[in-house]
Symmetry: C2
Subunit: 466 residues, 2 copies
């Protein structure tokens, strides 16, 4: 029989087991923090009805959509009934609108699932990747205080991930629009165009933005352009500086003043929530590409790895689901692109392969003692310790090499001698140390070893949960 | 703007949050047991290259495949490059073949992901559903002892799920084929056809099978048919009976004797692994539809709910990945269809909505005390307790009703009076009881309450992990 070359499609992230464990640990940390802050899990199907998913016709987004068709439908040349979700926001809008009457508002949901984009594959660009989203959706209204709570969630996650210093950068679209309005750029569409240009500052530089804003289509006066560039270059270094930045803006129109008030309330809340000042800053250049943000916007960067770009972004929107319901559903949300984050942390050397989820290997020193090994494995598992058992006879040295290669920390060894003494040997494959323990105290001894390794950050807690 | 009716595609399982939590608890129990028995996580992309996925041309399977195409490719009329996986076995074969040199053998992997089938939607039939698979894959050879270990995993999972008595039914394809051979049905293909008919016993009855086996294409003698029907009607009620069933079979050919030896070894191991006799039985009628099983086969039924059918099935195969590699990779595996299992357990009233993952609601009795509430929420979360905070002022009664509807067990209440006394009120919304505790002892008091509820099986462990 001819053999087909086994290969994964490009633009997907498939990992070896120890890397998969590290990735799973990342997702678990995010999930645990989302739950700790009171968010509820939701999962939606990977595909949606095309008609429901693609409410806006044309555009960048639609060109990246993957359509789904069964063989039968393909042969008949039907238009595809289904399409894979390209983000978790449209499915959330559909979900909230569909289940509106069964949900309690404010509705706090987290969703950790894969999304799909029909991109041409590039290094670090994924066609399938995990997004980890939280949103708080209100009915008719939603306090700006929730905007602050999301900052606390982001800080909690990146603190726990221990990937070095990070900065959550905050801005407010009302403040930004109000500022433009004061400069005479009153038209909302024109503001959006200016925002888009300003968003290119990091990539294209100030001179490019200056030329564009002075040129055709914009024709802004030099003073206005300099005011804008001065505005977007401001950063706060502390809570006091952030408050001062807001105070110095002055007023002049309702939008600007609303934005100042909202950001001010967010700052007050952050203090109350105990988010350290070093974790966040105001940055008036943050605009976010998406047009639907209407208030607070967030970006999060790793201070020592600016090249990675934003690792957690989001913002406040006025109405989540206007395509699906006439109810007004304002909300605020953030998203972590976990596949990209994992991949970039790995590239930056901030994340490595994990130790195995298997904590103990029960070796087979003497095939005659199989009943003893079975009993050992059973005791370990009953005690909530993850254990693998060697079933095929083989040299002990080879078994220990297997454990080492597989990232298993401990091996349990039992031969005729130990059995006669009522003892068991435990080998720590990381420390390359071993010790003997009475057979009846094996579980206790292993628990101490495992807890020590967890306390030292060498192992993560595994096994027994409820 | 016109509104599009929000709706999920048929044949998908989308749940409200408290049901999603119950489903997630089911997946977590399965995952925890898989890890406890030493299996490593693997995830593969939802889609595979069509050429790689569809190694066998035509057939039932291909007709159910969902193909994936981007808009651009659709417009050009290209043949779809990608297709959604329809099970986790083909991706495992591709994975093991692709990463063969980076993996340690025996390779023990678990995979909990969704699969896709282009089925016409029926009640309880899913087009997207979770499968939870484990497989142990050897290089060149793999001891039959692993076949027994999988029985222990199944028993451990269904014990922990607490869905009533269950029975893991065992058979062996070699034993079955050897038995047929002794009856003069020596041709492997003819045996497969007979097996397929025997597999219909439950659905079509003995008379139908009798007629078919006597009729055209089979033409078996009455004695042979009765021997077959007697053979497949045997069930063991205990370990001793199981051993007797094997002993009574007699020998006569290599296949039969190999099957008897293998099942005998599995029984010996099950005793050593401590699997209770009431959890498993020999059943010579278990054939499994798939042709590629070559040794042990498994089916698991819920004793009090026979209508649900098998909730966990699998078996031993000679060669996992012959389409992708010339290496010989024998293995043994089982699969739990978690979406179907959840749906049927719910229909049977064996599973309900869960309590919320949110353990405590911090209410807002007096807006002036917001800094106190923020501090409370922060303390709870730091202590690893999942907490939601009320951000918008409102009547306390309404806040408590929200908590109750949302399945949140405890509410923390703090007003001017409590503040003056240095106390906090805790309300248990399930018991409809409340008590006051000194402010400094709130965390301790809540931990005691939560631990008690966990011990009573009213709550699951949440929050703090590492």
């Amino acid at each position: 029989m001819s053999v087909i070359k086994p290969r994964t499609p490009t633009g997907t992230l498939e990992l070896l087991p120890l890397d998969q464990i590290a990735f799973q640990d990342l997702l678990d940390t995010i999930r645990r923090n989302y739950e700790r802050y009171g968010f509820l899990p939701v999962e939606t199907p990977a595909f949606e009805l095309s008609e429901v998913l693609l409410t806006k016709s044309g555009g960048e987004t639609e060109r990246q959509v993957y359509f789904v068709q069964s063989t039968g439908s393909l042969k008949q040349g039907d238009a595809p009934e289904l399409a894979l979700r390209f983000d978790l926001t449209v499915p959330l809008a559909r979900y909230v609108a569909e289940h509106e009457h069964a949900l309690s508002f404010p509705f706090r949901r987290y969703q950790i699932q894969r999304v799909y984009r029909g991109e041409s594959a590039q290094r670090g660009r994924f066609r399938e990747f995990y997004q980890c989203d939280i949103d708080i959706v209100g009915k008719d209204e939603l306090s700006v205080r929730y905007d602050a709570e999301l900052v606390a969630v982001i800080a909690s996650i990146f603190d726990e991930l221990a990937v070095g210093p990070f900065l959550i950068q905050l801005n407010n679209r009302k403040l930004m629009r109000g500022f433009f309005e004061r400069l005479g750029i009153a038209d909302a569409e024109q503001q959006t165009l200016v925002l888009r240009e300003v968003d290119k500052l990091d990539k294209r530089g100030a001179d490019y933005v200056r030329r564009t804003l002075a040129g055709e289509g914009f024709g802004l006066a030099e003073a206005a352009i300099e005011a804008i560039l001065g505005f977007v270059s401001k950063r706060s270094g502390s809570l006091a500086e952030a408050r001062a930045m807001l105070g110095e803006l002055g007023g002049g129109n309702a939008q600007l003043e609303a934005g100042i008030t909202e950001l001010g309330e967010v700052l007050d809340m952050l203090e109350g929530l105990g988010v350290p000042e070093s974790r966040y800053a105001l940055n008036f250049s943050i605009a976010r590409g998406l047009d639907y943000y209407t208030g607070t916007v967030y970006e999060t960067t790793l201070t020592e790895h600016p090249g990675i770009g934003s690792v957690c972004s989001g913002g406040r929107y006025d109405n989540l689901a206007s395509h699906y319901t006439r109810s007004k559903l304002p909300g605020v949300g953030i998203s972590i692109g976990a596949s990209r984050l994992y991949w970039q942390l790995r590239e930056a050397g901030l994340i490595g392969s994990a130790e195995s989820t298997v904590q103990v290997l029960v070796t087979q020193m003497d095939p005659k003692l199989m009943p003893e090994y079975l009993k050992l494995a059973r005791e370990l598992r009953t005690a909530g310790i993850n254990a693998e058992m060697v079933m095929d006879a083989g040299k002990l040295g080879k078994q220990l090499k297997y454990a080492d290669k597989a990232g298993i920390r401990f091996a349990v060894i039992l031969g005729e001698d130990e059995l006669a003494r009522g003892a068991v040997m435990v080998k720590d494959l990381r420390k390359q140390e071993q010790f003997e323990t009475p057979r009846g105290e094996l579980i206790k001894a292993l628990r101490v070893e495992i807890e020590q390794a967890i306390a030292l950050g060498e192992l993560r807690r595994r096994g027994k949960a409820s």
